[in-house]
């Protein structure tokens, strides 16, 4: 196959270049063209800290999961014992059923991912059933009222814990970022082009709105200075920025000027990919929106998942460099936002204008 030949050629080329470089560096027992002294550690960009406050209810959920399974097993295997502790002359069949329900809740909590809000709410429903049952048990004279009260108090305490846990689990953990007033974005992509080519494209900041969907325009206003306009549903935000560092073919950094409505900074780095496979582009953005209307607009710009949106924008950049324009399909053409889809049909007359705009 053609591919076989092509890959063989690549393989041979690689062998030849290896032969052409006879001086291998030998360091710490590693042999290679540029064996590094030690590997580097990656991951951990401070984001973990932002999520830390949520670890508590996640641990609590697991605790409740084990509690469910433990109590469920006791109810299933020793219904008489459970009835006695609760002060009831019990219907063992019903207690066994409740045991199954507890076990199911417990399993659902462990199967429900990191933040199993739904399964914990199912525990709340179960607690209500337990309470109803205990309430009914007061009506039977043979039951031990003291023990019933003790059991009811316990169930009420667990119910409170369940409600608290479920509510916290239901809260959006990404909300922490807007609460802290900071929107960090950190993404990378490989582009099949030289660092020089991609640097040149980025260095003309007026190109950025072509692939960054949240930007309406960037105008270069003077030496290293620029005026940025970002659009959001229901308004737009503007600020002035300056380039703070410019290392040709390696990196560009910029930040908003003092006193801007929006405090923002960004860095893009261009790094040769391994094996001459193009250039890796790393983008780091920070937005520190002020309070009030503008802040809300900036938060809207990035939605719930700023990293994912930047990944989409970088893919659009890659398309511009590799194939000359942004590739569109019938289904994504006029979708507002990043997730909205229209049926995969050609555009009608009324929507034709949108297609025309895209071609510009």
């Amino acid at each position: 196959m053609a591919t076989g030949t092509k890959r063989q050629e690549q393989g041979e080329a690689a062998e030849q270049s290896a032969q052409a470089a006879p001086e291998l560096v030998v360091k710490d027992g590693l042999t290679g063209p540029e064996a590094p002294a030690n590997g580097r550690e990656f991951g951990g960009d401070g984001r973990q800290n932002a999520l830390k406050k949520y670890v508590d209810e996640e641990q609590l959920a697991r605790g409740l999961g084990w509690f469910s399974i433990g109590l469920g097993l006791a109810e299933l295997l020793a219904p008489r014992g459970v009835a006695k502790v609760a002060g009831m002359r019990g219907n063992t069949g019903l207690i066994r059923l409740f045991g199954l329900r507890e076990i199911a809740s417990g399993i659902a909590i462990f199967a429900g991912g990191r933040r199993p809000a739904g399964p914990v709410w199912s525990r709340v429903v179960g607690d209500a059933l337990d309470l109803a049952c205990l309430g009914a048990a007061y009506a039977t004279p043979e039951n031990d009222k003291a023990r019933l009260t003790f059991a009811t108090a316990n169930v009420l305490a667990v119910t409170a814990l369940d409600v608290l846990c479920a509510r916290q689990l239901g809260a959006d953990p990404d909300g922490a970022q807007t609460e802290r007033g900071n929107v960090p974005v950190n993404k990378s992509i490989v582009v099949n082009a030289s660092a020089e080519e991609v640097y040149q494209y980025w260095r003309d900041l007026e190109n950025l709105p072509r692939f960054m969907r949240y930007l309406e325009s960037v105008k270069v206003t003077g030496e290293g200075r620029s005026h940025w306009v970002a659009k959001a549903p229901g308004g737009s935000v503007e600020w002035d920025a300056e380039i703070t560092e410019d290392r040709p073919n390696q990196s560009i950094s910029w930040r908003s000027l003092e006193g801007s409505e929006v405090e923002t900074s960004g860095t893009v780095r261009f790094e040769p990919a391994t094996g001459g496979r193009g250039t890796v582009i790393h983008v780091k953005l920070d937005y520190n929106p002020p309070a009030g209307v503008v802040g809300a607009l900036v938060a809207k710009l990035f939605g719930e998942d700023p990293d994912a949106q930047m990944q989409i924008d970088l893919r659009r950049f890659k398309q511009i460099v590799e194939v000359g324009e942004i590739v569109v399909s019938d289904g994504t053409l006029t979708g507002e936002g990043y997730t909205e889809q229209r049926p995969a049909q050609p555009l009608g007359v009324g929507l034709g204008a949108a297609a025309g705009q895209l071609q510009k």
Binding site: Q311, R315, V327, D330, G331, A344, P346, V349
Partner: protein, 392 residues
């Protein structure tokens, strides 16, 4: 124009929709002369592929005449008669450069969706859910073909539509299934599924030098086509134990390579009846998205050190993958959506030379307007339906 649109589970309708337009500079518009229903369209029809939207135009096997080209189309012109490849590929990215066209990095505008499900995104595909881009499909009168220089194959005079239409998908897909088996002289290749892709996998295994090819299915008309069209031996899994029959045929060693041309909607019989009910139940409960009965059997049957080649479509997650068998016996698995553009010139050569006439799989020809009927009989295997070709 008229197009066959998806509206829900087992609900497709031919509707009036707007004509396609050039949207990117390397697009062409093709006036479709023949289009087909693919077995993988049935996965959409039965609702197993997520992210379909009501109104989506279906179809990824089509051919026709170019009636309009964008300003950056250089090697095709109006009037060219072409077959369109189902993968949409840019020809410029890392993967296209390696001829891994179905992995193109630039043609899925909804790559973020696929990344959520698959970790990484494959290429865009016509009429195959929004997960693969939300491109309008080719069961219609006209279609927009992005990257026309890469995604169309010019057809020479003297070959009719039915001989070349399947270069769009199922012939190269079957061929790739066999090629991935790294067939050596003397090899025995077993193919699960005698649908159209399975037929081409069997025929291709012979083209690539296999000595013996065995097809496995349960429908007599498909097994007959395998024997007469693809010249394979056959096993009806409702009448015989597949594993034992394969061992009997290979002296207990197992086939050198096994091809899964079934995918996520496998059925089972006999000992696999329980397995089918188990998987069907889990599938219905959304606890797995595929019923990998054929795949499990292919792994268990394959000889030590052999190759399992998967060209049947899977959409998400499967259960009870026999990893112990796979690891301890040094098996190799190779898979993929077909890199059509890498194979189609060579296969066109085989058709021109008379080595194979792919039209042997066609059982039904009908008007585009009858697409819903075509889906119905194809899905229910009624009227011995194996392959439906639609004429707009």
């Amino acid at each position: 124009m008229r197009a066959n649109c998806w509206y829900g589970k087992k609900d497709v309708r031919v509707e009036q929709v707007p004509d396609p337009k050039i949207l990117n500079k390397r697009d062409a518009i093709v006036k479709i002369t023949s289009t087909a229903i693919c077995g993988s369209d049935l996965h959409l029809y039965n609702g197993f592929i997520p992210t379909m939207q009501a109104g989506d135009i279906m179809g990824h096997e089509f051919m026709g005449e170019i009636v309009e080209v964008g300003p950056e189309v250089h090697d095709r012109k109006v009037g060219d008669r072409v077959v369109v490849s189902f993968p949409i590929s840019c020809g410029k990215c890392f993967f296209c450069e390696q001829e891994l066209f179905s992995l193109c990095e630039n043609t899925n505008p909804n790559a973020w969706m696929a990344e959520k499900l698959f970790g990484h995104s494959p290429c865009g595909i016509y009429g195959y859910s929004h997960l693969t881009g939300g491109y309008a499909g080719g069961q219609s009168e006209y279609a927009r073909v992005p990257f026309a220089d890469v995604g169309t194959l010019k057809i020479p005079e003297g070959l009719d539509d039915e001989q070349v239409l399947f270069l769009s998908d199922i012939f190269p897909t079957g061929y790739m299934g066999a090629e991935m088996c790294n067939i050596q002289p003397g090899d025995t290749v077993a193919v699960w599924g005698c649908g159209p892709v399975g037929q081409f996998a069997m025929a291709s295994a012979y083209l690539l030098g296999a000595e013996r090819v065995i097809g496995i299915d349960r429908f007599p008309e498909r097994l007959k086509m395998a024997r007469e069209g693809a010249k394979a031996d056959t096993i009806n899994y409702e009448e015989a134990n597949v594993y034992e029959t394969l061992m009997e045929l290979t002296g207990g060693r197992g086939p050198d390579a096994c091809i899964d041309a079934v995918g996520l909607e496998a059925h089972g019989a006999g000992a696999h009846g329980f397995e089918y009910i188990y998987d069907r139940t889990k599938q219905a409960l959304m606890m797995e998205t595929g019923r990998p009965i054929a795949l499990r059997e292919a792994i268990m049957a394959c000889r030590n050190g052999g190759t399992v080649s998967v060209i049947g479509v899977y959409g998400g997650f499967i259960d009870k993958f026999p990893m112990g068998s796979f690891m301890n016996r040094s098996l190799t698995m190779r898979t993929g959506q077909c890199h059509v553009q890498r194979y189609w010139k060579k296969l066109l050569g085989h058709i021109k030379d008379g080595d194979i006439d792919p039209s042997f799989v066609i059982t039904h020809r009908m008007k585009l307007d009858d697409a819903a009927h075509g889906f119905d009989i194809f899905n229910n295997k009624e009227d011995d339906c194996i392959k439906v070709v639609l004429k707009p």
